[in-house]
């Protein structure tokens, strides 16, 4: 496919009087795992939310699968929205639903009516994220942090998306769980041929997952390329971010895992 799954052109964002982004251009190629990194408050999550249409930039254009999210008829917009899935930082599971109903929800909304088929599909998604079938009837409040993320990932994958958007996929997980989750996303990426965009400040995750890295600082994309290319850019922010002793250790760990 010639078009990019996500393309930002001249995106600027303003909160009140403060400019968060100034003229951001970024094109995410299909099949890549692109990590957005940057200091706290650099607007990584804001950019992610603009990609999925939860926020609108003050200037510029966000295109998903070659079109603006709000282009075309309602039907076309819906079809476009269903081509990507989003994993929220805290899972954002519907707390009134069981795990099963959470994963089945998008499928039911899409129009899957056959209960037997629905059950098989949900169990398949649960197996994909390595959840046992017996958690299906539990409520989100009864799950551990790692399980919440897995269920949320299964829900994001329910409609067979081509693009997966992950907001801090490993935040709040212990190192063991976090590396297992990274491994899971990697295997899904390989198996399903997804395009993945993630925001993270965890360098382990970054090194283990990302095929491309976009560094966001002072409202601009400082660098966009493979991890090697990015770390070799001479810039004070990149020096601080990637070349500190702790960062080096984390990158080495992540690359070792990857």
């Amino acid at each position: 496919m010639s078009t990019f799954p996500v393309e930002l052109r001249g995106v600027s964002t303003r909160f009140g009087k403060q400019w968060i982004h100034r003229g951001i251009d970024l094109a995410v190629p299909a099949g890549e795992v692109v990590a957005l990194v940057g200091g706290s408050g650099s607007g990584k999550t804001t950019l992610l939310r603009q990609m999925v249409g939860l926020l609108h930039p003050a200037e510029g254009e966000v295109k998903v699968f070659g079109e603006r999210l709000d282009a075309g008829s309602r039907h076309e917009q819906l079809a476009r929205r269903r081509r990507f899935g989003m994993l929220f930082q805290h899972g954002a599971l519907f707390s009134a639903f069981t795990v099963f109903a959470n994963i089945a929800f998008p499928l039911r909304e899409f129009g899957v009516r056959d209960e037997g088929l629905l059950r098989d599909l949900v169990l398949l998604k649960m197996a994909m994220v390595e959840l046992e079938p017996d958690v299906a009837l539990r409520m989100p409040a009864e799950l551990s942090g790692g399980m919440v993320k897995r269920v949320a990932l299964a829900r994001a994958l329910a409609l067979e998306p081509e693009l997966l958007v992950l907001d801090e996929p490993t935040a709040g997980l212990d190192p063991d769980l976090s590396s297992a989750f990274v491994e899971l996303i990697r295997s899904l990426h390989r198996a399903l041929g997804l395009t993945v965009i993630l925001v993270t400040h965890d360098l382990d995750t970054l090194a283990a997952l990302a095929t491309r890295v976009a560094v966001l600082s002072a409202g601009r994309i400082l660098a966009f390329g493979t991890l090697d290319e990015v770390t070799n850019v001479r810039d004070p922010f990149i020096d601080r971010f990637f070349h500190g002793a702790r960062s080096q250790a984390a990158l080495a760990r992540g690359l070792g895992a990857g």
Binding site: M1, A79, R82, S95, A96, F100, F110, G111, V112, G116, L117, R119, D120, L121, L123, L124, K125, A127, M128, P133, D134, A136, L137, M139, P140, A141, L159, E160, A191, L192
Partner: protein, 376 residues
Amino acid sequence: MPSDRPPPVIRIDAGGSGMQVALAGDWTLQGLCPLPEGLRRELAVAPPEGTWNLAGVTRLDSFGAVLLWRHWGRRRPARLDLPEALAPVLARAEALPGGDLPAEPGYRFLDGTAQLGRAVHAALHHLLGFVALVGHILIGLGGLLRRRDYWPLREISANFYKVGVRAMPVTALVGFLIGVVMSYLSALQLRAFGADAFIVNILGLGIIRELGPVLVSVLVAGRSGSAMTAQLGVMRVTEEIDALTAMGISRHVRLVLPKVVALTLAMPLLTLWGSAVAILGGMVSAYVQLGMSFDYFLNALPRAVPAANLVIGLGKGAVFGLLIALVACYFGLRVRPNTESLSANTTASVVASITVVILVDAVFAIATRSIGLPYG
């Protein structure tokens, strides 16, 4: 649908060695849901025991794989021509466990009895919990008596403003309208008997002693009681209450006590305000309907309504305020960290506080039946 998505098709040939089924196109969720009618019919007659040729399939996702898997009766057909690229997708569907989910048990005969038992148990549990809450507050108060500089005065003042001052406009509006309506209806009846002057007695006694406190309580329970429950509930959800506990700060002193004190103090004043505006409304209506001057009305009021009624009315206001705040805080602290529990407890809080107010009002009516009634 973009043009690079060939639609799913199925072709069935009766060849020499049994039926040949050939699939082509995208067998994905986008193309298969809802299942096109023609495809559904053709798939229904495609025999699982025939030869299946999937070489023409451009894309297969887990939806398509599960659909085929179910059609094959959860078995791989004996003769299956599967391209290498699609094998892992089908393998995932194959790994599906066949058993059923642990099902919710259905409704049985004795469940009704069990439900009744649970309801009684829950009522007792609420009563105990409520007593425990009051106990905690009293213990907190005891502690505060010894450490005077720990009184949460700022919180009390902030709550007083929120539940008292901010409630004045709506109380006035509702009170005024109720006064007008009551006066209007009574005036119609009284005029038929030529007993116009008694409108002062009806309005004065009715509003000051009974209607004012109850009306304001219902308004406050809906407005401030629900807000208190929701606020405590959200603090529970966001773990703010746990944070307070971890700092060694009593939630009962810091969160519950200010609300209870503020509402107990604010309610008599709100009652006074609401009753006054309701009587004003009644006066206006009596002037319009019966031509009764404001002068006459105000002069007759103290004679028709002994001062004890005002004390009863304001006393009721204070007690109702105390109860509403306690009930609201009780349910607020019971919220568990999910949205369902938050809404259930907020509803329970409003329903319970209005019920309690009306029950206690009945107790007041019996207890004060020989006080302040001029013709008693």
